[in-house]
Symmetry: C2
Subunit: 492 residues, 2 copies
């Protein structure tokens, strides 16, 4: 077969990336159909007058995202059904949080799949020139930034994070800040430092799927506190606190994942009072808070905390980019004395190079500038999703009205025809996140999480339209006998 | 006070770094004596016509390394006794592994201290131009590399690591490789996945201090297998295996930390046979193996493993730079099914940006080139240390002859006058690593680990000379009554 690939040696794009990009275009446009064989590495290298390593890199890049498949001795072929990416084969397996997170990460970059499943920012909006300029500047201090850094985090980054936290009304000294690999690592440290295997902890229902995976991994018992429009139901919370003496309550008060809801100020104050009264801690995940599309969220629990009951985590993964793997855990020094040795045991600490780059980016006002630019973009996407849901969903389906963040929570009637929505969407090239893995207790309904951060409004409308058609289609099918419990799997 | 600082706006060095560097010179040379006050941020900014943020960054950089101290409302002062860095104040505290690791990380960059304590490569040898060129190239794919990547690691990096492992006679597919944040994270995953709290695991005596901290953190019980010149004593190992049914034996066969010794081929083969016979795993830490100063080390256990009993970990922290926080855990896919979800819980995965940069660096042969350049340098430093020990140590003191790696293990008579060597060395501006924290069982002797990777030969000779004088001086003092157990603290 012949492939016309044009190399531009003056372009600001590595040659292997040019090759991979053009092959991706050919596949995406259908000119290279599924199953067709690509030239061998040697042929392609000769044809383009590049090294074999360059071609190998292009093929590896394509392979890692599922566009092509290589078999030793047979060659490299366009993925047989690139709309059905590798993980779909495992779709019949139990929906553990780990499997669903793996799928979400995969579909975020899989070919032929547009993802409403991952709550990620749109990385085409990333301020790359600015960030890479800071990276380049650090060449001059290479021998520092490629060395071991302090486990608690680079002093300069902790100062910059302290400044960032002031925008959230939080006063924290660098000594109260532990740099972490995202909120994920912050929560892993919390789960290990604040509780013992078997301990009960309270979570919102629904809640962040990654934390449910962590609780399972570290042997903690989550109990569910349902949400209403104002936030967690405090009557349930108080009852559970009295009965079970939980170590902490994990909450995402501002633009909650997966619902997008924002806890009211009054509810925050009552929650703080309850925690102080009953002696449990509040673990506050504030990762989405700056993504406010109308009025700002109320102050975080940490800013309202007079009793010292709040452990606070945030990161740059939603506001800037998840791939930096940088966030922080904010707590008094006495708590840090437990967190820092755990971080030391886990991985010694974060890369000083990335920490210092982020520190300069923050100090120069990069985050504030970036947020001013992207908030209207994300707000428009939120609007597109809500409007499309109103236009395309049949009655009986409801959804949250996210005031910020990236996600919207769908509630559908629990009818057996609907169990395969995730799979049916995938067959049409769309990823959605199955709702049951966000739940600790079974729900009387079916749920999906739809995220709108990383797709343009047209794509969001198209995806919701397809989902709406599927739901309508499915609901008009005759119902098959319904066997309770076969369609979802409780997490605990 | 007046400070003459010259800013070169055309230099390839950030202005705050120019300021910090010149102040460091002033302090180091004694022209700015301890306790003297620096200009305020505002004064300095006006004097140099730079922003206050720039001066603040310079002061923060100096402060984070202990050169200056700032007190709100009072100003910024040259550290009162910069030879005695902050951690020394805590030197009277129990020598836990965590405290000693913190000290080692700190003294590696502390002002006024030359460190024989940290087994780090010399970062002034880092191939910064080459590495930064790869970093810069990735600007073109920013929207990929700042996104979430697969938890198991970037496919391109795993291919490059597979190629790197072939240099160690190890055949591993990308599916058998998990990218980790250094060997430290690989060992944390091993400690959590392969054993339960309370389980017994076997370690060498002495062994890597970081792993002892991890065992303590994750609640595992280490038991000691003593070393002889060929490697671990297999008679002891077999007895412990029969008595205690350990989950695994952790070993650093090639250029062992902290002794620098290399396990013989015969011992490796016997060890593998024992593991297969008694049903325990071998956790092989191969991080120092490429640092061979004479003949190469024998093949790693992993390459000799026919029974599938070896879990293998390595990283770039000793061969290239620790600050990348990149290494790998090599094990069959069935084991990876346990490690990958743990890694997902711990931190989701490593930064794609750093992974991809390293992948390109490795693919272009950067590591092989770098090793060819630095091995003779480190070999000369090893020679300098061994010769200096011969020249300056009194009889009664012995040491290992490291054939590779960065460390040498000193054995001194257990005499009460010698207990404070670490502190006495620090008072002279030298850091050494106290030996007892590398031990699971108490030793009849005193020990120090001396590392030679990051200092030039002259400095190594000077440090050993000072240590030798201290030891001689101390040994000639009249012995004070000796109270057993007051001078060291067993780890378990």
């Amino acid at each position: 077969m012949s492939l016309s690939i044009v190399i531009d040696r003056t372009a600001n794009l590595a040659i292997y990336q040019q090759i991979a990009g053009q092959i991706r275009e050919e596949i995406g446009s259908g000119r290279l159909p599924p199953g067709s064989r690509l030239p061998t590495v040697r042929q392609m290298a000769e044809q383009l007058s590049v090294t074999r390593l360059t071609v190998q890199n292009a093929y590896t890049e394509l392979q890692s995202h599922g566009w092509v498949e290589s078999t030793v001795g047979r060659g490299t072929f366009v993925g047989k059904d690139i709309q059905l990416a590798p993980h779909l084969a495992a779709a019949g397996q139990p929906l553990t949080p780990a499997a669903v997170i793996g799928d979400i990460l995969h579909f975020g970059q899989a070919p032929g799949v547009r993802s409403l499943a991952h709550a990620s920012p749109d990385l085409s909006l990333f301020p790359a020139d600015e960030f890479w300029a800071h990276l380049a500047n650090l060449r001059a201090v290479a021998d520092t930034v490629v060395g071991y850094g302090p486990t608690q985090g680079d002093a300069m980054l902790r100062l910059a994070l302290a400044e960032m936290l002031r925008d959230r009304d939080i006063t924290a000294t660098p000594g109260e800040i532990l740099v972490t690999a995202g909120v994920t690592q912050a929560l892993a440290l919390v789960a290990q430092a604040l509780a013992q295997p078997g301990d009960v902890v309270l979570v919102e229902q629904p809640t962040y799927i990654g934390f449910l995976h962590q609780l399972r991994t570290y042997g903690l018992q989550p109990m569910a506190v349902p949400l209403d429009a104002e936030g967690p139901r405090l009557d349930v919370l108080e009852r559970l606190a009295l009965q079970l003496r939980p170590r902490f309550f994990y909450t995402v008060p501002s633009y909650h994942n997966p619902t997008g809801l924002c806890m009211s100020l009054e509810r925050r104050q009552h929650l703080l009072a309850l925690a102080a009264k009953h002696g449990f801690l509040l673990v506050e995940d504030d990762i989405y808070a700056p993504l406010a599309y109308a009025t700002p969220a109320p102050p975080p629990l940490k800013a309202l905390d007079r009793a010292g009951v709040v452990i606070y985590a945030t990161s740059l993964s939603k506001t800037l980019a998840p791939g930096l793997r940088l966030g922080c855990l904010v707590a008094p020094p006495a708590w840090q004395e437990r967190f820092v040795p755990l971080r030391l045991a886990a991985d010694l600490g974060s890369s000083l190079l990335l920490q210092r780059t982020l520190a300069h980016f923050l100090q120069e006002g990069g985050l504030r500038r970036h947020l001013r630019r992207v908030l209207p973009v994300y707000g428009a996407r939120r609007d597109a999703m809500v409007q499309a849901l109103e236009a395309h969903m049949p009655s009986g389906v409801t959804w949250t009205q996210p005031a910020g963040g990236f996600s919207c929570w769908l509630t559908l009637p629990r009818q057996p025809q609907l169990v395969d929505l995730r799979r049916l969407m995938l067959q049409q090239g769309w990823a959605v996140a199955p709702g049951e893995t966000f739940l600790v207790q079974p729900s009387a309904h079916l749920h999906l999480r739809l995220s709108f951060g990383s797709l343009p409004p047209d794509a969001i409308r198209r995806g919701v339209q397809i989902l709406g058609s599927l739901v309508r289609q499915q609901l008009s099918l005759p119902a098959e006998p319904y066997a309770d419990g076969t369609d979802w799997m409780p997490l605990v």
